[in-house]
């Protein structure tokens, strides 16, 4: 069966198609969203009351720019109400950089001549031991998208090793079917992150010329399949700068919003990645400034105040310190994006360059100086 926006490309064999109208609703709402149509009055109205989709659109619009400081006050207040001064630390582990996709903005693109590596089960454990020794309790397992080099049993083994060493285990790997998510959940995975990258299907098609990732709707439904497979939480993200960032952020927020309404038990969170110019010369990023990124984060906060937000190491230390004081609630520490870099066992190149190389201790110190409370785990696996 083929699901809408895949006219150009059939589902690959084995890809599950689920019955859901979430994608159609998100795309329809996004088509109607005109960032330039909002006025200061609309933004004020959004600031004064509960924020629905309309108010969310206003907060993301250029009309909100002159009110950033006031919005920051409100956003911070909401963050404090829901999270207190707690900020959760985690770190990613890159298990493999093998990839079958051709995303033209990504360092893992299978046409790129980089050093490829997949950690052996022993190296995975060595790497995790090294991470655990830093005091971290929350880990995110990442791979490139290759069912050949990192198949489901391989990811399952990584998850199992992680669940023996960490309190919370997230995965950011290729989208998969419901039964595969269920299998990984049984191995100890708690959270699933899938970035849609851009929510503009036409732009998406240009940026993803090859590989399974080309199937827009299969990726779009990943969070729903993950929740049906029993995962506790799902994270959403648009890689801001691939398309019109306001529209992409609007769509991403609507996606999370509709999923939360349908699966009220799910823990929903956002990631805040921004395409940086130096990553790859082949894409001219739409300009997204630090101020724009903060605006998106604050709009997410006021629209879905209970959702946690993760700030990437793509951003510099000063920015990250600032945004966790307003709206972000999760921050990675002691990050190495290369495969096997924590224990020195591997030699795979990284996906992007990081801008905040600070260690766990440095991040902890910095949070404390800002009156924030570093938290290593906010989760118990029942």
């Amino acid at each position: 069966m083929v699901r809408r926006w895949t006219d150009a490309e059939d589902y690959h064999e084995g890809m599950e198609s689920i019955d859901s109208d979430v994608m159609d609703r998100v795309l329809a709402a996004t088509r109607e969203y005109e960032p330039d149509s909002y006025t200061e009055t609309d933004v004020r109205r959004a600031m004064s009351g509960p924020v629905g989709p309309e108010g969310f659109g206003a907060l993301l619009s250029p009309a909100a720019k002159p009110m950033m400081e006031e919005i920051a006050t409100l956003a911070r207040e909401e963050t404090r109400k829901h999270f207190g001064n707690a900020v959760t630390l985690f770190t990613p582990i890159y298990a493999s950089n093998q990839c079958e996709n051709r995303c033209i903005y990504c360092g893992f693109n299978c046409d790129n001549k980089i050093n490829r590596a997949t950690l052996s089960p022993e190296d995975v454990r060595r790497e995790m031991d090294s991470i655990a020794s830093m005091g971290l309790r929350d880990i995110l397992i990442l791979t490139g998208e290759s069912r050949e080099h990192s198949d489901i049993p391989y990811i399952g083994d990584c998850v199992e090793a992680a669940s023996e060493r960490f309190t919370a285990v997230g995965i950011e790997v290729y989208p998969m079917n419901t039964d595969e998510y269920r299998y990984l959940q049984s191995k100890g995975a708690d959270y699933v992150t899938v970035f849609q990258e851009t929510y503009d299907p036409e732009r998406y098609a240009e940026l993803h010329p090859g590989g399974p990732k080309r199937i827009f709707s299969y990726r779009f439904d990943a969070q729903e399949r993950a929740l049906r497979g029993g995962m506790r939480g799902v994270a959403f993200g648009a890689l801001l700068g691939l398309g019109d960032f306001r529209r992409d952020a609007f769509a991403c927020g609507m996606h999370a919003h509709l999923i939360q309404r349908r699966y009220p038990h799910a823990e929903v969170s956002f990631s805040l990645p921004r395409l940086r110019p130096f990553i790859n010369g082949r894409v001219e990023p739409e300009s997204v400034s630090e101020s724009d990124l903060l605006q998106v984060s604050m709009a997410y906060r006021l629209f879905m105040p209970f959702a946690s937000q993760t700030i990437s190491t793509r951003e510099r230390a000063g920015f990250r310190d600032g945004i966790v004081n307003i709206s972000a609630t999760r921050i990675s520490a002691s990050v190495s994006v290369g495969v096997g870099e924590h224990s020195g066992t591997g030699h795979g190149d990284g996906q992007f360059e990081i801008s905040d190389p600070r260690s766990v201790d440095e991040i902890v110190g910095s949070l404390r100086r800002n009156g924030l409370q570093p938290v290593m785990a906010d989760y118990v696996r029942p």
Binding site: R76, P264, L294, F306, V375, D378
Partner: protein, 258 residues
């Protein structure tokens, strides 16, 4: 003043009627808040206490504090029971605040599963204190299942909106022969005072303290308000207020050009 006005829960006597929630302010503030608030019982999330490494909240609890571990993170009665056992293993005693939530947006408690958990935990010798949506019938079932206190929410947790459910809490206070502790939603000392005037046995607060300008001083304000409300209840009735706060120095000064 009334001579003996102890609050008795599960056979334990308390003089303080201020229950402190922890976890929303820095650990090193815990002791000061407890002291200023005259707190004798403080909650802790097992999911936090379980985190070895960075700051264990148990290390920050002063001597003599009775711990009230909670089951936050549980979505079913079975999960709550497992977390309660973990709390016991951690040395947190027999008190357990049952918190079962299947709604990530409003964090509203699930009364049906909570009733079930009360029975299961009571059978295992715990002193169950269920956090619940104020519903008289559910409160009756919890009392029958062995609850040691009933802890209805005043408004959604963390909202600081005060006692939006006052009429329903009043019914529980009137009908149930157990201490009723308003848990969640209390944002101001005046609201804590109101709960006490209604005849509630105690008040639980966390966000209200954690989001205050001066955390330690607000803890003291709550203590005084709770004492005043209790005194008013034992004598006659009282009343409430409303409002909103604003920030001080620029929050967005860190933004760069890029």
């Amino acid at each position: 003043m009334h001579m003996s006005d102890d609050l008795v829960i599960g056979g334990h006597k308390f003089q303080s009627r201020f229950r402190l929630g922890s976890g929303k302010f820095s650990l090193d503030m815990t002791r000061q808040v407890i002291e200023n608030g005259g707190v004798q019982m403080a909650t802790l999330a097992v999911r936090r206490a379980n985190a070895d490494g960075e700051g264990n909240i148990l290390d920050h609890m002063p001597e003599g504090i009775t711990l009230l571990p909670n089951t936050s993170g549980a979505r079913t009665a079975d999960e709550a029971v497992r977390i309660a056992r973990l709390a016991r293993e951690l040395g947190c005693g027999d008190f357990i605040k049952i918190e079962i939530i299947r709604d990530s947006k409003y964090l509203l408690p699930d009364n049906r599963e909570t009733i079930r958990a009360v029975g299961m935990l009571h059978d295992e010798g715990f002193i169950p204190m269920p956090y619940m949506m104020p519903d008289l019938t559910a409160a009756r079932d919890m009392a029958d299942a062995g609850a040691a206190a009933i802890m209805p929410l005043g408004s959604p947790i963390g909202s600081n909106k005060g006692i939006l459910t006052r009429d329903f809490i009043r019914m529980i206070v009137e009908e149930i022969d157990l201490p009723v502790i308003v848990d969640a939603g209390i944002g101001r000392p005046s609201q804590a005072c109101e709960a006490m005037e209604m005849g509630c046995a105690a008040v639980m607060a966390n966000t209200a303290i954690a989001t205050a300008g001066d955390v330690a001083s607000m803890a003291r304000a709550f203590r005084l308000a709770i004492e005043a409300g209790r005194m008013a209840y034992l004598s006659g009735p009282g009343r409430v207020i409303e409002g909103r706060g604003v920030a001080s120095s620029p929050l967005t000064g860190f933004l760069g050009e890029q």
